[in-house]
Symmetry: C2
Subunit: 338 residues, 2 copies
DNA sequence: TTGAAAGCGCTAACAT
DNA sequence: ATGTTAGCGCTTTCAA
């Protein structure tokens, strides 16, 4: 900047003004500065500016796994909205690991991002609380953090989605419905299980606890869970997989055991995927407004940042609606048991 | 930091030393500083530090589309390696748009990222050249930039992959093989077409130019291209889709036209996807070491950053091998024509 | 072992 | 319309 100023025969203040299109500057200075700037290949230093202005125009985004289409679609929503609003985003993948999550949280705070969007692991409630206390602007996506009010959150009605999926299976006549569930440290894990339970209650059907497999949201867990359920002496006639990865894993497990869908058992996923209608059979799933979660989350965060210095904006909870997409992977049980 | 110093009754220099575990500091000061620091909820300011140290430990990553499993897997490789090496990454999606790419390039440079990893659109050769001239450390992924030597690049042997896919179809007896190709502004577009051509030459089969559909790597393009090819009077008996999205779109187009795979036409994709073996039929594809491209790319960049100030490290080109995965979507043509 | 002070590149208040 | 200057939070040389 000094160099540009020298070359253009003006002060660095003028250079600053020209660069920012801000204050006054004569046409002549403007021309000279511009010229000198690209002669020298000058690029503004965003760090220095942010140090002065106390804002980085950067937000942090933490998701469990970028290769899961749910999260990558969600991230896409964030990126798109962020771009429109002039923010850029530092992305980090936590792999559902509490340690990694803490590490990234620190990192983002050290970089003084303007705000953070996160699908939290659920295992660092205290740290998140601390971050909020320190004044960090946070919007949670997809999952809540129990005990942490005071945070904006954008999510889907998981109880409802799971309820409808389970109800659909029950109405088809299934008596033994297995569930491949995520960790109970997450609200998505808990709520989807709750929906499953409530549907049974409302239909006055008992639940065999053997049919509830609680693991993680990852492939291996789904695979093991599906194997276990499918090889029971009295196996379920339907399986509800609590996310897309678990559902995919179930398909593989079924193939290996030579089980046919929906002949041998019906399958519903929570979380639809683009290729669900290309599989054999086409997959019945609870669709979520994935992209929207990210997009709206970024909007909320931006709104918070506008009023930041004002009084504490009170926490808002945005709940989006899931939708059951019926496809061919579900059918009445062949040998219904009573 | 000043506050911490005050509270601990030491100078800010000492605080700095303690925080960095660097220089000398008495056990007593160390203790006092640590105490004061977390009493006050002190967090180092990475921006200020980077300003001083002239390095940000941040790299930029530019990919066309995060929802494409190829790029998200690649990004995953980058993230994983970056984490291991202590870098964090600013992610941006260009949507194959030259303007957006330029914008992000500027942004990353303004933020003084230590280096940039990019799957370039191919439309901003000049800007990339300029960035390099200005001393930015760059590693290109998946695609080269013609006319730009001097850049590290990590990619797959696209000619070979396309050659093998096409050869496989030719050997099955197909005489009319359609190709859904990406933009020729990208080396992936050009090279995959080149492989297709060379396979024909080597087998001494003519190519009907009507069968070559050059579009973009996006869904709509694939859909239109597939529709066009499939509704020809003398349609191809096989289609080679130059990426996974194009292949997926072809499946949808085929379904709408009531065409069966592989009965009515065979299908091969460039770029395997996780669910390729769950579709009906299972999809034959050219698999790429996607994650590795990202991982190795980040490694290369880190290596460059180590020697940066030394003499110019000369550009290295890393070429990984693709592999044809034979699955059920290919079969001999039903009515081979001569 | 510790402190004082310069300077990284920028913006903005103030002075001209 | 333009220039001078303080200061954002940090590291590091130099001196004590």
């Amino acid at each position: 900047m000094r160099d540009v100023a020298k070359k253009a025969n003006v002060s660095i203040a003028t250079v600053s003004r020209v660069i920012n299109g801000d204050g006054y500057a004569s046409l002549e200075s403007r021309r000279r500065v511009m010229h000198a700037a690209d002669e020298l290949g000058y690029k503004l230093d965003a760090r220095a500016r942010s140090l002065k202005l106390d804002r980085t125009n950067t937000v942090g985004l933490m998701i469990p796994d970028i290769t899961n289409p749910f999260y990558s679609d969600l991230a896409n929503g964030v990126l798109t909205c962020a771009k429109a609003l002039g923010y850029h985003v530092i992305l980090s993948a936590t792999d559902e690991d509490a340690g990694i999550e803490r590490e990234y949280l620190d990192l983002l705070m050290e970089n003084r991002v303007d705000g953070i969007l996160a699908v939290p692991t659920g295992k660092n409630i205290e740290q998140w609380g601390e971050a909020i206390t320190l004044g960090t602007q946070i919007v949670l996506l997809d999952r809540k953090l129990t005990g942490l009010s005071d945070v904006d959150v954008v999510l889907v009605d998981n109880v409802k989605g799971a309820y409808e999926a389970t109800k659909y299976l029950l109405d088809l006549g299934h008596q033994r419905i297995g569930i491949l569930c995520g960790p109970l440290s997450t609200t998505t894990g808990r709520d989807r299980l709750a929906g499953y339970r409530r549907a049974h209650q409302d239909s006055e059907r008992p639940i065999d606890d053997e049919l509830i497999y609680i693991g993680t949201f990852k492939r291996e867990s789904g695979y093991q869970g599906a194997q276990k359920l499918l090889s029971m002496i009295n196996p379920p006639t339907a399986i509800f997989a609590a996310n897309n990865v678990l559902g995919e894993a179930t398909m593989f497990a079924a193939r290996e055991q030579g089980k046919r869908i929906p002949d041998d058992f019906s399958l519903v996923l929570f979380d639809d995927v683009p290729w669900a209608s290309l599989t054999n059979p086409q997959l019945c799933a609870v669709a979520q407004p994935t992209y929207t979660i990210g997009f709206v989350g970024m909007q909320r965060l931006a709104e918070r940042l506008q009023v930041s210095s004002n009084e504490e904006a009170e926490a808002r909870e945005t709940i989006l609606q899931p939708e059951l997409i019926v496809r061919r992977s579900c059918a009445p049980p062949v040998r219904p048991r009573n």
